[in-house]
Amino acid sequence: MKILVVDDEPDVRALFEQRFRREIRSGALAFSFAYSGEEALDYLHGHHSEVVLILSDINMPGMSGLELLRRVRIEPTPPPPPRVMMITAYGDSESRAQAMSLGADDFLTKPVDFAALKEKLLALPSA
């Protein structure tokens, strides 16, 4: 299952790769990384229907995670549409409601509980 992680912090990559090293090694999960909303969109254009899940930070310079979510939802993509989970340091209900109304499937707050995230990811139907 291909997961695209979008975050402006470069160290997120090292963190995910280590946190999910067993799943990556076993091939259960595959991660790609983008450091901005724009980069994520580019990647999605180049890898249609590969990405099953997008894990995106909301607060990023330039295109925000919410904007990315909006664009992903309005752009015609071959089915099935990717699931989108939003991650933010500001876990207020307003952001959550906004993310949900834009079509997010889940809403996580930083610091990310990797154990919980792992369970959620492995529980996904296509995993």
Partner: protein, 464 residues
């Protein structure tokens, strides 16, 4: 002497007394003696009346009595002159009448002796009388002049005295007014000094308040900025602990995979580096925050403008984003590599940059809020470069822009376009002071309404 003289000489004597009293002002100068002088007319009048009425019957020698009375009068004049000898006109009067008195005395002596001078001497007697008479007239005139002169002198002295007293009174009055004014002025000075002290205190408080306000704006940004590295520290420690467990397990296995073990060790080392790195990042943010809240020491140190700009750009951005969750902006940085360090007060320069960034983000946020512009991408960029012997920092935004009328006032204290309570109006004013007065640089603005604003800070490398 015939009897016709007689009618004249006694009134003459009385006249002399009257004139004497008047001329020498005896009522005031010699009040005791004057009382007697005032009565001197009585014997004269008695003799005169007796002789006139009964002279022939009583066979009185009118001439003798006449001279005796005149001598008495002249003696009184001399006595008065002697008594008043300190008074120059009185002395002159004495000298004036003395010869005449001698003549009268001599004649009286002859009369009493019953001797008649030889007719040959009559002429000389008349001459003596005439001479003594003119002498008397001349000296009396002189005495009168002396008296007038003395009176004039006295009057002049009195006038001078009065003048002097007037001047003294005026001086005293002036002195009093001066003292009064001085007191009023020193009171005013004291009041002004107090007001100035109060103003300075208020100014210091305002500056501190503005600092704290900007710190308040930063708090959320700082919390976010610290939370991020802390998350990494926690995550990398946890994951490292997992890696150690895995490594331990790997080593216990009969068929060890050296490649995997090496990978794990590389990861571990890398994680520890990341923990250190993120820990330092958090520490530097805390340090920055403390520096910002601390009163400026004003000490100049070589300052890395690029690092300062980068740090405060992030703080300002996260500060605003913490308040407005939906806000997003593109940050563009173009830091000149090898930019020389600037001799400056890092804390103060940081405040200036923070202020410029906060304003820039505020401007793009306002433009975004207005809406109606599709494809509007809020952008704040910072660029550093060395131009000649100056370091130039440009903070540019594509926000609302500043109307030309307002541009004139933005560096004035207390001028703000923000709603009440949102801005102190001191930010740019303080920034301007810090750059121009504190560092000998310049802070300028170029803005187009609806297009954006660029603030340019020029800092001389070597400040003299």
């Amino acid at each position: 002497m015939d009897e016709n003289n007689f009618l004249v000489e006694i009134p003459f004597g009385i006249l002399i007394i009257w004139l004497l009293r008047r001329f020498l002002a005896t009522p005031t100068r010699l009040p005791q003696l004057d009382k007697r002088l005032a009565k001197l007319w009585v014997p004269g009048a008695v003799v005169w009346g007796t002789v006139l009425l009964f002279g022939t019957q009583l066979k009185l020698n009118g001439d003798l009595l006449d001279n005796a009375y005149l001598l008495l009068v002249l003696a009184a004049v001399l006595w008065v002159a002697w008594q008043l000898r300190a008074y120059v006109p009185a002395r002159t009067v004495g000298l004036a009448v003395a010869p005449y008195a001698l003549c009268v005395l001599a004649q009286l002596g002859l009369q009493l002796g019953g001797k008649k001078l030889l007719a040959a001497y009559d002429d000389s007697t008349d001459l003596a009388y005439s001479l003594s008479f003119f002498w008397a007239v001349a000296l009396l005139a002189m005495a009168r002049n002396q008296k007038n002169r003395l009176a004039a002198d006295a009057q002049r002295r009195a006038e001078e005295l009065a003048q002097q007293q007037l001047i003294e009174a005026q001086n005293a009055e002036l002195e009093r007014i001066v003292v009064e004014r001085t007191a009023a002025l020193s009171q005013q000075t004291e009041e002004l000094r107090e007001a100035l002290t109060e103003l300075k205190l208020t100014q210091a408080q305002l500056i501190q308040a503005e600092k704290m306000a900007s710190l308040g704006e930063l708090t959320a940004g700082i919390a976010h900025e610290i939370q991020n590295p802390l998350n990494f520290v926690n995550n990398f420690s946890e994951v490292s602990s997992e890696l150690v467990t895995e490594l331990t397990q790997e080593r216990c296995r009969p068929a060890r995979d050296p490649g995997l073990e090496a990978d794990l060790l590389v990861d571990l080392k890398q994680n520890l580096q990341k923990i250190t790195q993120h820990g330092q990042r958090a520490a530097s943010i805390v340090r920055g925050m403390l520096e910002h809240s601390r009163a400026s020491t004003g000490e100049r140190q070589p300052t890395d403008i690029n690092a300062l700009a980068d740090e405060y750009l992030r703080l300002a951005y996260h500060g605003l984003r913490a308040k407005d969750k939906s806000f997003n902006a593109t940050l563009k940085t173009d830091f000149a590599s090898g930019l020389p360090l600037v001799e400056g007060v890092g804390q103060d320069l940081g405040r200036v940059l923070l202020n410029l960034f906060t304003n820039a983000f505020y401007a793009v946020q306002q433009r975004q809020k207005k809406g109606g512009e599709s494809g509007y991408a809020p952008t704040v960029s910072v660029r550093t470069e060395q131009v000649g012997d100056e370091v130039v920092v440009r903070v540019q935004d594509n926000g609302t822009g500043i109307p030309a009328a307002v541009q004139q006032k933005i560096f004035q204290p207390f001028f703000t376009t923000k709603p009440t309570g949102e801005g102190t109006g001191l930010g740019l004013s303080l920034a301007h002071d810090i750059i121009t007065k504190g560092h000998g640089g310049t802070l300028t603005v170029i803005s187009a309404e609806g297009a954006g604003t660029t603030f340019t800070v020029c800092l001389p490398l070597a400040t003299s």
